[in-house]
């Protein structure tokens, strides 16, 4: 059973914690396209957080193409886009470069970074289990 966990004691906002976990689960294939997710009310109730927190996370994920929000059918996992526009791709690559720069600045060497990046990409292609429950 897939579980989403939040920790209010962290500085990371709750809506971002939710979005991060859903992104990872979708990218790893643990959440397949078309899979229904709990309603905003159900998830907010289970986690004990404000409705707006979950609504904000869902809207963010919808904007990023991870989820599709339908009025009656609820929230479902979106299918991956068949092609990505140049501007969207450039924006994401810019974000990735910024994160790599921060990691380098944090003291990570190239021989540390490369295996991690390789492992993460491979996990998205085949390993759907590692984010399960917790």
């Amino acid at each position: 059973m897939l579980t989403l966990t939040i920790d209010r004691s962290l500085d990371h906002p709750v809506y971002e914690q939710v979005a991060d976990q859903v992104r990872r689960l979708v990218a790893s294939g643990a959440l397949a396209p078309g899979t229904p997710l709990p309603s905003v009310r159900q998830l907010a109730g289970d986690l004990g957080v404000n409705l707006n927190t979950i609504a904000r996370a869902y809207r963010l994920l919808e904007g990023e193409g991870f989820l599709v929000i339908r009025d009656r059918a609820g929230v479902v996992v979106a299918a991956p886009a068949e092609e990505i526009g140049h501007s969207a791709r450039d924006e994401l690559l810019d974000q990735m470069r910024a994160i790599l720069a921060r990691l380098r600045q944090a003291g990570m060497a190239t021989d540390e970074l490369l295996p991690i990046m390789r492992r993460e990409v491979l996990a998205m292609d085949g390993g759907g289990k590692e984010s399960d429950d917790e």
Binding site: M1, L4, T5, S9, G45, D133
Partner: protein, 361 residues
């Protein structure tokens, strides 16, 4: 059987049921909780907690004996009804006092780590919607329809009756109109109640919560239907007495009341034995995974009895002490429901008192 014997019997049964429940509750509580306080999964097994539970058992036995003695003594002095009421008051107020004493003792045992755990929450991402909600909605529709029809029938029938008090005729249909839809509404709210899940339990904790919640929903739905059936038949019998078609209510109605009570008590015992508090017995193997989701947060619980969280959209949450669910007193919808129920209940009491005062009976 004389009136005194019947009243004393009722008091004895009440003391045994309530006192027995108080004795059993700490044994079926979800791991990590101690008398309404979250003390953590490891601390509940330690000596201090064991000693508290031992003292609780002795306190419950003394309370049961005291309420029986006081009640029966007043009854034997020639006032059985006053004895029954006093014995019940001693039992309920004493039970509350006993609980609060042990709650504050348990709060002193809470380690700092429990506060950190309270910051965490887990929720299932899959698994579909709540179960049992279909039956609950059906019960709400049917109960409302039948209760309204009975109420209208009682008003219309009043004209055809010989010398009966309006209050005496309308009291039971009014009770029906209040209680049977209320039970069905509770069932609907229970179907969507907040689940307090143990994170990292491999899904077993969620399965336990879902199974427990569905069982409680079904019990409340069936109770709504049974209460509606009982009050409807009772209303019709009262109207028939008013029309001089029958002389008394008959034994059947008391048999039916006994069946409704036995159904409720039997199912409650089944849930206690099979599930424990919130499915506690089903998730025994996952007890090492810490409790989360508000149930672990002592700051959100007043006396371990009242959950207050304005940010939490849940209307119903799992009880910390006792079996079943309680309201989130920080939620506006929950408070509206409480206010509506209180106003209607007070209205009914006023109706009964007014009828008695003007000599209606």
């Amino acid at each position: 059987m004389s009136e005194a014997v019947v009243v004393n019997l009722f008091l004895t049964v009440r003391v045994l049921v309530v006192g027995g429940a108080l004795l059993v509750l700490p044994r079926i509580t979800r791991k990590g909780l101690l008398f309404g306080a979250y003390v953590g999964e490891s601390l509940v097994e330690r000596d201090a907690a064991r000693r508290l539970r031992g003292r609780w058992n002795r306190g419950c036995v003394i309370l049961m004996a005291l309420s029986l003695l006081v009640g029966l003594a007043i009854s034997w002095a020639g006032r059985p009804v006053a004895g029954n009421l006093t014995g019940t008051a001693v039992l309920l107020l004493g039970g509350l006092g006993l609980y609060l004493h042990f709650y504050f003792r348990a709060r002193r045992l809470v380690p700092p780590a429990a506060a950190q755990q309270a910051e965490k929450a887990a929720a299932p991402l899959l698994g579909g919607g709540p179960k049992g909600v279909g039956l609950a909605k059906f019960a709400l529709g049917l109960c409302t329809l039948v209760a309204v029809a009975t109420f209208v029938y009682a008003i219309v029938s009043y004209e055809t009756m010989s010398a009966r008090s309006f209050v005496a005729v309308m009291f039971v249909p009014s009770l029906n109109l209040l209680f049977s839809p209320f039970f069905a509404l509770l069932a609907i709210l229970t179907a969507g109640a907040k689940r307090s899940v143990r994170g990292g339990s491999g899904g077993r904790s969620i399965e336990a919560q879902n199974a427990f919640r569905a069982t409680m929903t079904n019990l409340l739905s069936w109770m709504a239907l049974l209460i509606c059936g009982f009050f409807t038949i009772l209303s019709v019998q009262i109207i028939r007495i008013g029309r001089s078609e029958i002389g008394s209510l008959g034994v059947g109605i008391w048999v039916m009341a006994g069946i409704v009570f036995a159904f409720f008590l039997g199912n409650l015992i089944r849930i206690v034995r099979g599930y424990g508090q919130g499915g506690a017995l089903m998730e025994r193997g996952t007890a090492e995974a810490p409790l989360t989701n508000g149930l672990a947060d002592n700051a959100r619980w007043i006396w371990g009895l009242f959950y207050v969280d304005r940010d939490d959209p849940s209307i119903m949450v799992e009880s910390r002490f006792g079996i079943g669910y309680t309201l989130n007193y920080g939620n506006r919808v929950a408070m509206l429901i409480v206010a509506a129920f209180l106003v209607l209940s007070l209205g009914l009491i006023a109706l009964g008192l007014f009828g008695t005062l003007i000599g209606g009976g």
